[in-house]
Symmetry: C2
Subunit: 284 residues, 2 copies
């Protein structure tokens, strides 16, 4: 198989949106079963699909900051993305997207509501005064993935049901944050991993939106099982990622009242902090 | 002066919204000059005003997660908040608000776009498995405020212009994060402070939205001057705050390409993490 490229890959095909002729700002999409966990469509994949539509209506290419509120569970199949330009400025622009699916009664049901402010990452000055340092993680070869036994593989697929999304991702967990897969969660609420797309497609701002929601939930490392549905996810894309694998660390500091936050940071192969994310999720 | 209370205070009066009879979901507001810095209206105050309108249309009282995109600069004077219910669920509901002002040509101009998912903080279970610990800060009496000399007072008012907002806030900075006021920024990008409203009103979820955007910018501690306009601000309200002063810490880890994130955490008098915030801001 030839290596996939940005624009020609599973991820690009499965997040494609098609403008409806004569229907300004409306795009058709098809949510692929390939990005499901159990029967739920991955939230990062949904966000990337909505963001692709926003990229077509806004004058600036890159989501600098994007927020999704997840309203109802999405399923594989047709979807429509309805977009509006909120404000088009000189260096930044803001848009809104609603991703909807038609229910059994023929009614459109909104799945997520997205607001994004876009800019042009390539136009930013080169100044970097970042105090954050890349987190420590063993080399890719010493991290654990699907090939390392059914325990990790099953857990990475959230224990049961469809493993569709795991076929499409190349995730290698830091062994120190993978103990939960063997029944020994650390209790720290941290997951660290190498991340790539299985077909070798390099990262871009759109795939970063997938990446920040693609690791096993930090709740697993807290010793909690089950599904942890996202209420809201915000991602800041700070830099266009260099080719190569990403390193992602996610962390939960505050589990209270049945909710937790999950903070993510994504570093590229040139040691740049390319994305920061935070989600509020519900513990079931 | 009698101590102000939740519901009867400057903050409550200045964030009040009045439903327009016969115009579903539309509220009139008056942005007070009392919450300005130079001539700009504070972003947290704007968010609280929009949130108050959302609280009137949604079936659940408290913003669990709320995001604002700041589109154009607001000024003191009349404003209108146009709201929509996005989804009303059993335990959570989502709404959208647009805060607008009329320009010189009589056109409504959108100032900020807000999306929030509400719930009922009082209905949450008591489970807390939080690994975060309150940050260290000297006692209130040993922190520095307006009374400690024109250097700190002026800097806290962002160096020049109107000090209106500082009259309404009781902010005491950790001396270790106030060096910038004397020309000696630490370079760490951290601000820690005690926070209250000057009239003694206790905190509630709405005033937490103000609190997370009320400290001097972390950019000052990085040695940068000038205005740092917020592009987007997301706040998670995790717990109803207990009476008494709040402690707020804000931090910037990544200043790059002319943008920075500012992460905030707010602790109440009972050592509970009551709010977490992140904003993307632009360095001028």
């Amino acid at each position: 198989m030839a290596q996939a490229t940005i624009g020609n890959s599973e991820f690009d095909r499965d997040t494609a949106v098609t403008a409806r002729p004569g229907d300004q700002g409306v795009f058709d999409a098809h949510l692929s079963a390939g990005w499901t966990i159990l029967r739920a469509v991955n939230g990062g994949y949904l966000l990337a699909t909505a963001a692709r539509a926003l990229g077509q209506i806004l004058p600036h290419p890159d989501p600098f900051t994007i927020t999704a509120h997840y309203l109802t569970p999405s399923g594989p199949g047709p979807a429509v993305v309805r977009t509006d330009v909120v404000r088009a400025g000189r260096t930044m622009s803001t848009g809104q997207a609603r991703l909807l699916q038609t229910d059994g009664a023929g009614q459109e049901v909104e799945r997520l509501r997205v607001t994004a402010t876009h800019g042009d990452l390539a136009a930013l000055p080169d100044d970097v005064r970042t105090s954050a340092k890349p987190f420590a993680i063993p080399p890719y070869e010493r991290c654990v993935g699907r090939a390392d036994g059914p325990g990790v593989a099953d857990a990475a697929a959230f224990s049961s049901g469809s493993t569709e999304i795991t076929d499409r991702l190349d995730i290698r967990l830091d062994p120190r944050t993978a103990g939960w897969a063997l029944g020994e969660p650390s209790g720290r609420g941290e997951i660290r991993a190498w991340f790539g797309l299985a077909d070798g497609r390099d990262a871009d701002p759109l795939s970063l939106l997938l990446a920040v929601d693609a690791l096993p939930p930090t709740a697993f490392d807290l010793g909690l099982g089950g599904w942890v549905p996202t209420v809201e996810l915000t991602v800041h894309i700070r830099c266009r990622p260099a080719p190569g694998l990403l390193r992602i660390a996610t962390r939960t500091r505050n589990l209270a009242g049945g909710f937790l936050e999950e903070d993510g940071e994504v570093w590229d192969s040139e040691d740049r902090l390319v994305a920061q994310s935070r989600q509020l999720a519900r513990v079931r």
